[in-house]
């Protein structure tokens, strides 16, 4: 395609996009206004299902199928990245070397932060239905928390503490469990991902039915995904060498 033709095609597409964008923007409610059509529908629906965190009610109950799609995207993209990062035929994996000297104070802070981060992550996952956070956020905190061990200079410890096998399994099982919970709703009430479990008293940790279950399931999957993903990056950086160099 010639340069002129490409520019013309771009101009045609861009002008339509610009026109619809401007028209759409002017039709939107005012920024910071008090009229929210979606809120007026979502908040009563969340309260009806005893879910204090309305965002979680939207993500895991009212529009759980969107979250199912997003979790599938996370698995697929992790799989793609890990496939690209795997050691190639000219490369060899060696034992991770000692990373050398780390400041005592850095190590102290790291070892103190590790249990705190893991507790915070578990807390955010388990309270996803009633306070800000949830499976995704808590899962990310858990996975990044583990990697504090890298900052403390103990990559070999990190390598031992997170064997990739179980985390790969966790990622797959978490993703599958989301579908199973959805299918259970289909069997129980006739709607995929329906919130079919009994509700508890509002604001309690076990009040939200399947929202709680799905939060935990997503937490497991996200921990698996992020650990496997970062693990592949770390492996390339630290323990993978070209064959010629390793034989030297």
């Amino acid at each position: 395609m010639s340069r002129t033709a490409r520019l013309l095609l771009f101009a045609a597409g861009a002008s339509v996009l610009a026109a619809t964008f401007v028209a759409g923007t002017f039709g939107m409610p005012e920024f910071g206004g008090s009229e929210h059509l979606y809120r007026d529908l979502a908040v009563p629906a969340a309260v009806a299902h005893h879910t204090a965190n309305v965002v979680s009610a939207v993500n895991f109950d009212q529009r759980a199928i969107d979250t199912f799609g997003e979790e599938t995207i996370l698995i697929a993209s992790t799989l793609g990245a890990v496939t690209l990062l795997r050691p190639s035929r000219e490369e060899t994996v060696r034992r991770p070397p000692d990373l050398g000297h780390t400041l005592e104070s850095t190590r102290l802070v790291g070892y103190l932060l590790l249990p705190l981060m893991l507790m915070l992550g578990a807390d955010v996952v388990l309270h996803g239905g009633i306070t800000p956070g949830g499976g995704f956020q808590g899962g990310v905190i858990l996975a990044t928390g583990l990697h504090i061990l890298y900052v403390t200079g103990s990559y070999p410890t990190l390598d031992r503490l997170r064997p990739t096998g179980p985390f790969r399994a966790a990622e797959a099982l978490g993703g599958a469990a989301f579908g199973i919970v959805g299918a259970a709703g289909l069997v129980g009430t006739g709607a995929f991902l329906d919130n079919f479990l009994p509700f508890g008293s509002f604001g309690q940790i076990l009040s939200t039915g399947t929202v709680q279950v799905l939060n935990i399931v997503v937490g497991v999957e996200v921990v698996g995904s992020i650990v496997v993903l970062l693990g592949a990056f770390f492996e390339q950086e630290i323990s993978v060498r070209k064959r010629s160099e390793a034989s030297r």
Binding site: P132, Q137, V140, T144, L230, F233, E237
Partner: protein, 84 residues
Amino acid sequence: MTALLVLSLVLVAVAATGVVLTERPERQAVTLSAFGLTLVLLLMMLQAPDVALSELGIGAAVVPLMVMLTIRTIHKDHHDRDGS
């Protein structure tokens, strides 16, 4: 409230410009992380703590770490090639 909102919006704009103006990619990983933190502030101001938590984990920690590791791996490969 509006003043704080404007302040955090300005902070986001300044930090984002800072990321664009950072020339070396390895420094960009650091400015990117700082930009993520200003976004977290803005999201808190907009009363979206769920999104703020996600941004804190992904934008301020995981993505800069991935960028940093990638740059180090690329440098290592260049070094190996120059050495042999």
